[in-house]
């Protein structure tokens, strides 16, 4: 029996006990102080331009959601949530209230609540494209692929062909039809040409990159992610995916660091990749980033949040060399999210500890989705030829 099994069985009960202990050493050990002069700046907020907090309640909720998207600040979501809940019944059409609430819920990883809202919205207005697209994505995150695919198909009548194609291709690629999905989406992207908003172009290229990665075509994946970023530098999914490809599959840490540095704003996911890259490059600055991340994860754990589990698992594995704890975190993450990145995380963490049962669980995801299984040594991804090739070589 390995250390991994030991911790796994009693880990949960012990974590509860030790969380109490973690507070004993507390984060309030630093002494509070009185700044020497009035001019010292203590915090930054959005400058008030007078526009942000006026207007009707609907406008304020929408503004808060957009601000949350741009800043990545969960506070904005909580504020939008509070505004929406406090809004009088007649402040919004019923459908819009459902959609706004669902959007907030899914951003806060309250996936089941989000699905209920979108169900309600679509029951009233089956043609609501935003509700349908968002529900398709949430269903995909939860691993309910058939339902997700149905939403993507229903979307085709209401949005631009590229949007519907991206939605469908993403799901199809997880249902064992990655090769067709890749061809379809690639064609759609070529057909759309320059006639696309940067955001949609970024999203579609990033999805294409993900499909290529699952096919084991690393170069094509990297190319697609870079095109996504060229179209929309704010596309975080593309940037994180590219950084992961460079770090974990190609071992090109210096390049990964450049990808992180080009980001318009560095969030936790990117800061983590920066630390991993710097560590690989033997740049001692990784420690500083790691300690800030740890403080964030500690607070998140005390809050009982699941928002950071994917990042936290990588943190334990890559920065703290603690594969046992990484696996425990990856398992908890898997119970919340089941996207390709989560499956890869579970697989790699299980392999690092030698936990055959969890590895089998991850492998069954690869089998079910028809994705190429990364090789155990972390060196290479199985290369599946773009042309018709043997299925499931690994």
């Amino acid at each position: 029996m390995s250390a991994g099994h030991r911790t796994g069985r009693n880990g949960r009960a012990m974590l509860v006990a030790f969380t109490v202990a973690a507070l004993w050493g507390g984060s309030l050990t630093a002494a509070p102080y009185r700044p020497a002069t009035d001019g010292i700046v203590l915090a930054h907020v959005a400058p008030r331009d007078g526009a942000a907090d006026v207007g009707d309640i609907g406008e304020r909720v929408r503004t808060a959601i957009v601000r949350a998207r741009n800043s990545g600040d969960p506070r904005e979501l909580g504020r939008a949530d509070a505004l929406l809940r406090a809004a009088p019944a007649n402040a919004f059409p019923a459908v819009e209230r459902f959609v706004l609430q669902g959007t907030i819920d899914q951003s806060l990883h309250r996936f089941d609540a989000a699905l209920q809202r979108f169900d309600a919205a679509l029951a009233v207005d089956p043609g609501h494209a935003q509700a349908r697209l968002t529900r398709a994505t949430v269903l995909q995150v939860r691993g309910r692929l058939a339902e997700s695919a149905r939403d993507c198909r229903a979307l085709a009548r209401h949005v631009a062909p590229l949007v519907a194609a991206t939605c469908s291709a993403n799901v199809a690629s997880l249902q064992g039809r990655a090769r067709e999905a890749y061809l379809l989406l690639d064609l759609q992207l070529r057909a759309a040409g320059a006639d696309v908003t940067p955001e949609i172009a970024g999203w579609s290229h990033a999805v294409l990159g993900g499909i290529a990665a699952r096919l084991g075509r690393r170069e094509a994946a990297a190319r697609a992610y870079r095109e996504a970023l060229a179209a929309n530098p704010s596309d975080r999914f593309a940037r994180v995916s590219l950084a992961d490809l460079l770090l974990f599959d190609q071992h090109r840490s210096a390049e990964a660091l450049r990808v992180v540095h080009d980001a318009p704003a560095v969030d936790e996911a990117l800061a983590l990749r920066e630390a991993i890259a710097r560590r690989a490059l033997q740049d001692p600055r990784w420690r500083e980033i790691a300690s800030t991340l740890q403080a964030r994860f500690d607070v998140a754990r005390r809050r009982g949040e699941s928002l950071h589990l994917r990042e936290e698992a990588l943190y334990w594995r890559e920065l703290r060399q603690d594969p046992v704890r990484a696996l425990d975190t990856a398992r908890r993450n898997w119970s919340v999210q089941r996207e390709p990145a989560d499956a890869r995380l579970l697989l790699d963490c299980a392999r690092a500890v030698g936990d055959a049962a969890t590895e089998a669980q991850a492998r069954s995801w690869y089998r079910a989705t028809g994705s190429a299984l990364p090789r155990g040594d972390g060196e290479n991804v199985t290369v599946v030829d773009p042309a018709p090739a043997q299925e499931g070589r690994s």
């Binding site: 029996m1 390995s2 974590l15 507390g26 907020v45 008030r48 494209a129 697209l133 969030d267």
Partner: protein
């Protein structure tokens, strides 16, 4: 692409889409938290330290008076009375049914994880006598930000407890006299220690390897049953004590952060100790002074226990000593329990062929085999 894609509905679609992709990545900012530290003193007094993010206070009270996007100490100082009143209106402390009187005493600032906080220092008077229970009702910011959480640390004679306040769970009552919850905190660590040793087959097999020959004495080349329980008991006592002392020493050194060793090395060494202790029963390299073996390898096992604590993020330094004591005590109790179960059985069987052949001989070989497998897995695996 058709032009309708650019209509208002489509723009709305994009908002949702972008939100999704953000969620798939991670959030760049810490969520909204306040840290509420309550310290129950004698004579009905509770000291309050409440750290509230300046950004949150700005959202509800507009601290950034000139609207330039920077909150300065001058702006905070000018509004500190308003802030104190706003916050304390949203914190209710009650003892034995009576509301405590809470007075703000000072307003300072601090930083947590790179974020600026206002630090409200206050004192609560909860009546003339000793405070036995404390009810806390926390409603700060829940009406403005549903993701806000209040992280409570409550210190009293009963020990220190933690709690999280959320919109749906904003009121809690705590026992704060000496008979209260502190014991359960300590007991939790003792229980963790017991569970760990009972689940830790490598530690148990090592101990078992040392116990197996305790009920027999070696005469020439053959094992003979021990004549009475007395020498057996003293041998076991020596062995178990040596193991306990050794692993306690290294456990505390490692848990307090004095010594750090790589996990893989420690785990491999523990596996090796199982192999060596078991093989010693077959090849008899060390015969009389088994307690020395127990002590030497006990040092290694202590690092093993401590590495588990590291994985669970126990605070380093003296603040965490009590939980460490509890955990270690639990390990000892579990260990003694195993000895109490195994030893009488071994003692009763000691004169049988079954003991000599199957238990001592085959048993030791089996333990050595298991240990070898662990060693290979830990030293060279994954």
């Amino acid at each position: 692409m058709s032009s309708r894609a650019y209509g208002p509905r489509w723009r709305a679609t994009w908002v949702a889409l972008a939100g999704l992709l953000c969620a798939a990545a991670a959030h760049g900012h810490a969520a909204s938290d306040s840290y509420l530290a309550l310290d129950v003193r004698d004579e009905g007094v509770v000291d309050v330290r409440w750290d509230i993010a300046l950004r949150d206070l700005d959202y509800v009270l507009t601290l950034d008076t000139d609207g330039d996007g920077a909150i300065t100490w001058g702006e905070v100082r000018a509004r500190s009375r308003t802030v104190d009143a706003y916050a304390l209106d949203r914190l209710e402390l009650r003892s034995a049914g009576h509301a405590c009187l809470v007075d703000a005493r000072d307003g300072l600032v601090d930083r947590h994880a790179e974020v600026g906080y206002y630090v409200l220092l206050a004192r609560a008077t909860c009546g003339p006598g000793t405070v036995r229970t404390l009810a806390v009702d926390y409603t700060l910011l829940f009406d403005a930000d549903t993701t806000h959480r209040g992280l409570l640390k409550l210190a009293s004679k009963a020990g220190t407890v933690a709690a999280v306040f959320a919109p749906g769970e904003h009121a809690r009552e705590f026992r704060v006299d000496a008979q209260g919850g502190g014991a359960t905190g300590f007991t939790a660590f003792v229980r963790s220690g017991v569970l760990h040793i009972l689940d830790g087959w490598d530690h148990l097999l090592f101990l078992l390897s040392l116990l197996l020959p305790a009920v027999a004495v070696l005469r020439g080349a053959t094992w003979e049953p021990a004549p009475s329980w007395r020498p057996v008991a003293s041998d076991v006592l020596r062995t178990v004590t040596a193991f306990t002392v050794a692993h306690s020493v290294t456990f505390f050194l490692a848990a307090l952060g004095t010594i750090e060793l790589p996990t893989r090395g420690v785990e491999s060494a523990i596996a090796a100790s199982v192999v060596l202790a078991a093989l010693n029963n077959v090849f008899r390299v060390v015969e009389s002074n088994r307690w020395l073996v127990a002590f030497g390898f006990g040092l290694v096992h202590g690092f093993g226990f401590a590495s588990l604590l590291n994985a669970l993020d126990l605070p380093r330094g003296l603040g965490g000593v009590l939980p460490l004591l509890g955990f270690n005590l639990g390990v000892e109790l579990g260990q003694l329990g195993v000895v109490a179960l195994v030893l009488p059985a071994l003692f009763l069987l000691r004169a049988t062929v079954f003991y000599r052949r199957a238990v001592l001989g085959l048993g030791s070989c089996a333990i050595a085999a298991v240990g070898t497998a662990w060693f290979v897995q830990r030293a060279f695996g994954g």
